[in-house]
Symmetry: C2
Subunit: 200 residues, 2 copies
């Protein structure tokens, strides 16, 4: 029922993740009714500019506009430590804790045979290349605690056996501040298995 | 933690209605990781093009790329009937029923003294101008059944008293397919008050 121009605008937003038809409509009308021509130009430019400028860091494979990225080029980071994550958002989450001072490696996905995602489809080879220098002492596997994320961690830890690095996996257990009563069964089993000694 | 270019992209999407910081992040990374440069160009163009092309129909004030819009210029529509709604989305919802064959008038909002929205801030004068021709026989007030929407309907119905038009309000009551048990009190009161005779 809308004019083709509006339909096209709605369709463009509908393709974005987490935006259904109704939300896309709402956004399109917001743009047409409440944003100035200047604002829409700025928005369009931000999209085109970001797409043109942002690329993968040659070292950690995170999204960046510099090369290498600000983490990889920082002299303050511990270069003996690499934390392997699935996505750039994971890097952001860990950085926001302000507690980790090593480097990162972004895989851009996890192994998923069901979806046809194999080792060559994610940035595993790029990780191996970074270990050949001998500077890295520990690789922390912080892929998601899902079937695919765990399989990826297991796969990488086996791949790394020829290298002289410690391979660790982030801990899984009851989240801080939550209730044991409401923890799911698998998390609870994991938390019991991974219990730590308190008195010495 | 992200580069300034990514932050700007996230910020642009965060300003859209219904999109929080987390969703904006997800959209930005989707654009950077999964959309091609061509796709992002098309998206940016759709935004700029729609903003430039779409304007208000000189008659019904709906968003359109033609002038007058396809409804106002159609020879198949009943020109004696005008349905007054708050927003272009409302026109779309009514058109989707395929049961209404009259014209529309989009107010672009509702009276809201608390927010400083008075009669001159919405398209009420434009409605009055359309009635001066004498062609219109009925004005259906289909503003939302909210405090502001109802106040707007009452205000317009008073304004229209000098004109020789029937002014009607869409019915309020229990939605079809829902349960009386779960209807809210005000809807239930309205439904009882507006009961219709069944046997003749």
């Amino acid at each position: 029922m809308y004019s083709a121009v509006i339909e096209e605008l709605i369709e463009k937003f509908e393709r974005l993740p987490g935006i259904g038809h109704k939300s896309a409509e709402r956004i399109a009308f917001y743009i047409l009714e409440h944003m100035s021509g200047e604002d829409t130009d700025r928005m369009a430019n931000a999209i085109v500019h970001a797409k043109k400028t942002i690329h993968l860091c040659e070292q950690c494979q995170n999204l960046t506009d510099a090369s290498p990225c600000s983490v990889c080029s920082s002299s303050k980071r511990d270069r003996s430590l690499i934390c392997v994550v699935e996505s750039p958002e994971d890097v952001s989450a860990i950085e926001n804790t302000h507690e980790y001072n090593g480097l990162y490696h972004v895989l851009h996905g996890a192994l998923s045979p069901m979806d046809g995602v194999g080792p060559d489809d994610i940035k595993i080879n790029e990780l191996l290349l970074r270990l050949s220098g001998g500077e890295v002492k520990e690789v922390i596997l912080a892929t998601n605690p899902t079937v695919n994320g765990t399989a990826t961690a297991v796969y990488i830890s086996k791949l790394l056996s020829p290298f002289e690095v410690t391979v660790t996996r982030i801990a899984h257990g009851i989240p801080i501040g939550s209730d044991i009563e409401y923890a799911d069964k698998i998390t609870l089993i994991k938390a019991m298995e991974s219990r730590t000694v308190m008195n010495g």
